[in-house]
């Protein structure tokens, strides 16, 4: 399986009443910081806040490969804004996941 490009998919779980606060934090801080570091924003989607369960906000980022991601990681980890953004985001979310996805090898399926 060819591990490029890479898609970093963050799924952030928040209480319904925190949905707008998390989206505002992403729009105003998280997304600009990660874009400045070199990640491409593929999309940002949210589940409904009207389901009486945690809202899931899914943010998908793209980088050309893991070598490029290593340099991007250096850029955001050494950005003081990222430390402050991360601390506030951690207060808003109740859980979530971070997973890396790659183009699925569809030609190998039966």
């Amino acid at each position: 399986m060819d591990l490029k490009p890479i898609y970093m998919v963050d799924t952030l779980a928040v209480k319904p009443e925190q949905q707008i606060a998390m989206l505002k934090l992403l729009r105003e801080e998280g997304i600009p910081i990660m874009q400045d570091a070199g990640l491409e924003l593929v999309g940002c989607y949210s589940t409904s806040p009207n389901l009486d369960e945690d809202v899931l906000i899914q943010v998908t980022w793209k980088a050309s490969d893991h070598s490029a991601f290593n340099l991007i990681r250096k850029a955001f980890v050494t950005d003081p804004r990222w430390w402050s953004y991360s601390a506030r985001a951690s207060q808003l979310r109740t859980g979530g996941t971070r997973r890396f996805f790659y183009p699925a090898p569809m030609q190998m399926t039966a």
Binding site: L3, I6, M8, D10, T11, L12, A13, G30, H66, S67, F69, N70, R73, K74, F76, V77, T78, W82, W83, Y85, S86, A87, A89, S90, R93, G95, G96, T97, R98, R99, F100
Partner: protein, 220 residues
Amino acid sequence: MTMLRRFEIYSLDPKASQAKVAAMHASMRNAQRYIPEVLHSAVGRNESDVALHFVWEHAYESAQSYQRYMVHPYHANIYDRYLLNDSPERIVTDNSYDVGLLGYSCEAPIYLLPPGAARRLVLLRLAEGQADFFRAITAEAQSRNPQLILSVLAENTFGTRWLDGVTQILETTTYSHIWEQGYESLAAAAAAGSDWRASAGAAVEKVIELWYELDAGYEE
């Protein structure tokens, strides 16, 4: 060939699930299964009163090996998941000790202990020009304690060069030197004490000590 010796030291989130802590522990202990470049990988739970809980010690054959580790998919997929501040699955916390990543260069695996042995790790900020003076103190400490079976004092060159192990990207790091000690048992490591501090005087500007039993992913 210059090897790189490396430590990652973390405080754990008390709210982290035991399953995730165990998964991180296993991923680091067994690192070489996933990333062949990671040598002599072992983990330990700190038993000193310093509020740092988890140590991952390992090494690389060369800076090139380390650079391959940094871009290995397992690194971003698994280690970053538990460690990076913005990861929703982070299980470590910020702490006041400013340790994180430390290490040094060496020509051979002078740090190597058998599985099940214990490490006492002394992280030091030495006053300018005091390294030789302090090296004599470490030699004297070793001569006085037959339980101290391994003693290495080295300059912490890794804290400021974590990206590739070579290029300096940060101005300074809190601990200028690492003194890693080896003992046959955790009890011996805990009992070793710090009598050397009286001799060191003002040569040591800052120090913390950790000790732990090695849960090694390598065989003797």
